[in-house]
């Protein structure tokens, strides 16, 4: 269906196979959520009305009184359930636009799958920035990578929207929540569908904005607002890197769209300083957005937002944007072994570092947050060693099982909150020490979260096993034969470094199995620690919330089918082959022109080790941890020694506070504020010019004596002076 009047730019050749097909309608995909944002945003201007009796123990159905589920705000408004007058309309529009966007995406995905397009299809909407030699169109790109990402964003996004309908139903800001969520999906789609770095950057900044808005959604609590600010500021540091990388790219290649960069990348010296700098600066942006060392500390704090937000933005989609960016820039990264090794190494260190912190967290969402940081590290290992398909594969499976884990934890928190609310208890609804034995009360959530746990731990045949194994196998294969192995980073040969990364990956897998099992044990197993009165009110959430969990559960189990290991025959490596037009060339450059295939025996041994480690971790956790003797939060003893260090997250936040935040605040206060602003600008320039004018005015006033005689004298002397001057000349 061609759109008359709108130019269609062909990526390569005269007629792209997708030109004139349904793919022309790609612009609908981001526009639909944007329409949802506009409608919900307008509805959010209507104030919420209070419903029901003020006392939560009177009348109404149970969950009608659960407000701010998962939140920590316990203000007066808490006891006055306030459902928004247009809540029903919003519940319809919010998920519906996502469902439509998903349908359109799926349609285009189908067209793309049938077309066997080797080159990306670029749909130009309008010229955006045209100045000098810089020409940037607002254009969307349909290719294998962008469509996979769009499927995840709209698909998982839709499920999380549906879950939110139940989770947020009694929040007075319900339409505002959905407006933000729709806006987020819009920007995320711009990010993944954009056909050039600047368009991607618009989405990149937009999702950052929505992340900020949603982390601070319950902004009346200062801690939440601060968490939003922290996320925003840390991302700014990363964005600086992204911008510098873009400038470098334009300065050296003269183009910023993906097709142009792809065709001209060979102009850059392989392994040269320029391409390495571009790669490292891009990775700085990725480290900010995807919470890698050293910019990861915002992500655990981001859990201050509503739990579905944590699932959508801070687990499944936005935080994976960095991985997407590296995969999208594969052609650049494959030219620079140093930057690629850095990406993989930082990923590996982050994976193990965050996993150790996850071992000792008590807040169920914090465990999952550090788990996300750790798994993102895994993805960066994948894209860092040039196994772009493997990295994206882990991104997909992680989106499934981590969204499931977060929504499951949302379901748990929802139940806990409701129970605690009924008795007016102010115990922490998110602390695992206050939970225990929820298996009996939340059977569906229990089963589904175990599926996700087995998936993330890497137990076959769950999805996480395949993706994690693929990454580790890729690292192992490249350690012996690749451009990375021949290169060196900081004097360490690449082959040794890759083995270190492999071992770190295995260790992180072990820790993942342990901390996830720990979370499950303390939450669902053992005796219940909520207290007699609360226990009666524990129960499964409504189906609008459990339904999405079931779908995600199925995906978490079956997600591995997307990319089975190579030895499994004709159905294997589907995703790998699918992404070949986008990343295949770059991956081949890193593996020096050969497909990286391990011998069957080696691959079997690697799988054996990985499974052994995962099972070992789970068994160890079961033997070592005793949920039966765990005490509720307020009775728990303080941790000691290294456990205490872990519980305090290695004191990284404190270290950053001392070394960065305090000096910056100090300099800002003393020099920039008191010195520059108050002293120089306010004092000298603003007030100073005022004083100067006042002085001049004082002198002028003295001249203005009011004596006409004096004026006449001045006049005559002036005339004589002028005449004198004339007659002299």
């Amino acid at each position: 269906m061609p759109m008359p009047g709108l130019p269609v730019q062909e990526a390569a050749g005269a007629a792209h196979p997708l030109a004139g097909t349904f793919a022309e309608w790609i612009w609908l995909v981001p526009v639909l959520p944007f329409v949802g944002f506009v409608i919900n945003g307008l509805l959010s201007l209507v104030p919420a009305t209070r419903l029901g009796p003020a006392d939560p123990s009177e009348g109404g159905d149970g969950h009608a009184h659960v407000e701010h589920a998962g939140g920590t705000a316990h203000d007066d408004a808490h006891h006055h359930p306030a459902r928004h007058p247009y809540a029903r309309l919003v519940s319809l529009i919010g998920p519906a636009v996502l469902a439509l966007a998903f349908a359109v995406t799926a349609g285009i995905f189908g067209v793309l799958a049938g077309a066997h397009a080797e080159a990306p299809f670029v749909r130009t909407l309008f010229p955006w920035i045209v100045t000098g030699s810089l020409h940037i169109d607002a254009a969307l790109q349909v290719d294998q990578l962008s469509m996979v990402m769009a499927m995840v964003v709209t698909g998982v996004g839709f499920l999380i929207h549906v879950f939110s309908v139940g989770y947020m139903q009694d929040d007075p800001g319900y339409p505002r929540y959905f407006a933000y969520l729709n806006l987020f999906v819009f920007f995320m789609l711009v990010l993944v569908l954009g056909a050039s770095y600047p368009v991607l950057f618009v989405g990149w900044e937009g999702v950052g904005l929505c992340s900020y808005l949603l982390i601070g959604y319950w902004y009346s609590d200062k801690a939440n607002a601060d968490a939003g600010k922290k996320a925003f500021v840390m991302n700014r540091i990363g964005d600086f890197g992204f911008l510098v990388a873009m400038f470098l790219l334009f300065a050296h290649l003269g183009t910023l769209d993906f097709v142009g960069v792809g065709s001209r990348a060979s102009q850059l010296t392989e392994g040269g300083a320029v391409v390495t700098a571009i790669g490292l600066f891009f990775f700085l942006g990725c480290a900010g957005k995807s919470a890698q060392i050293p910019l990861y500390t915002w992500l655990p704090d981001a859990m201050a937002g509503p739990t579905p937000v944590s699932a959508l933005i801070h687990a499944a989609t936005m935080v994976t944007a960095g991985v997407y960016l590296v995969a999208r820039s594969a052609v650049l990264f494959s030219l620079t072994p140093v930057a690629s090794l850095t990406v993989a190494l930082i990923g590996a260190i982050t994976a193990i570092f965050a996993a150790t912190i996850g071992l000792k967290q008590w807040d169920i969402k914090k465990v999952l947050a550090y788990s996300t940081v750790s798994q993102l590290g895994y993805m960066f290992i994948g894209v860092g060693v040039g196994a772009y398909a493997a990295g994206v594969f882990h991104l997909l499976t992680h989106a499934f099982f981590k969204a499931l884990l977060f929504l499951g934890s949302g379901s748990v928190i929802f139940a806990m909150h409701r129970a605690l609310h009924h008795t007016g208890s102010h115990a922490d609804a998110q602390d695992m020490r206050n939970m225990g034995g929820l298996r009996a009360y939340l059977p569906w959530t229990f089963g589904l979260m175990w599926i996700a746990t087995l998936a993330i731990a890497g137990i076959p045949p769950f999805s996480g096993f395949f993706s994690k194994d693929e990454i580790l196998a890729s690292v192992f294969a490249r350690a012996s034969h690749s451009t990375l192995a021949d290169a060196s980073l900081l004097g360490i040969p690449g082959s040794a470094l890759l083995m270190v990364i492999y071992v770190l990956g295995l260790a992180a897998a072990l820790l993942t199995a342990i901390y996830m099992t720990r979370m499950m044990l303390y939450t669902f197993h053992g005796p219940n620690r909520t207290g007699e009165a609360e226990r009666a009110h524990l129960g499964e959430a409504p189906w609008v919330m459990t339904g999405p969990l079931v779908v995600l559960g199925v995906l978490s189990v079956a997600g591995g089918l997307l990319n089975l290991p190579a030895f499994m025959g004709s159905l294997s490596q589907t995703l790998h082959h699918w992404l070949e037009p986008v990343t295949g060339e770059a991956a081949l450059r890193i593996t020096q022109g050969e497909e990286a295939h391990l011998a069957l025996g080696t691959e079997g041994a690697l799988i054996g080790i990985a499974v052994l480690i995962a099972v070992g971790g789970i068994v160890y956790a079961f033997m070592r941890l005793k949920p039966a003797v765990l005490l509720p939060k307020d009775q728990s003893p303080e941790a000691h020694g290294f456990e205490r260090v872990l519980e305090h997250k290695y004191y990284v936040d404190e270290i950053y506070d001392r070394t960065v935040v305090k000096p910056v605040v100090g300099i800002s206060t003393r020099i920039l504020w008191k010195g520059m602003d108050a002293g120089l600008i306010d004092g000298l320039l603003v007030n100073g010019s005022g004083y100067l004018m006042r002085g001049l005015g004082w002198m002028g006033a003295r001249l203005q004596s009011g004596q006409v005689g004096t004026y006449a004298w001045v006049l005559v002397i002036g005339v004589l002076a002028v005449l004198g001057a004339f007659s002299i000349s």
Binding site: L703, Q704, G706, G709, A712, V716
Partner: protein
């Protein structure tokens, strides 16, 4: 004839100027201003002998303006006198900055 007329005009103008500068009485200053105007008129008339009738026409204009000025000026002086019972400029400095 013309040099004498111009000399007289210069003398009259100087007397008028000195009067404006040294006297304090508004009426006297006003008269001195008139003297200066008429000194200029004399110059015009004298020079019209050389340069044509334009100078004489100008004199008519000057006298008209001077008459109007006299009316307005005297009215102001009367108003000032009513306000402060004086026309001594030393005591009148309402426009002091």
């Amino acid at each position: 004839m013309i040099p004498e007329a111009l000399a007289l005009s210069a003398v009259l103008f100087t007397i008028g100027t000195i009067g404006v500068l040294t006297r304090r009485n508004a009426i006297v200053i006003f008269m001195c201003v008139e003297l200066m105007l008429n000194a200029v008129n004399l110059t015009f008339v004298a020079l019209s002998k050389l340069y044509g009738v334009t100078g004489q026409v100008f004199v008519v204009f000057v006298m008209t303006v001077a008459a109007a000025e006299a009316a307005v000026g005297l009215a102001i002086i009367i108003a000032i006198f009513r306000h402060g019972q004086t026309v001594n400029l030393k005591n009148i400095n309402l426009l002091k900055g």
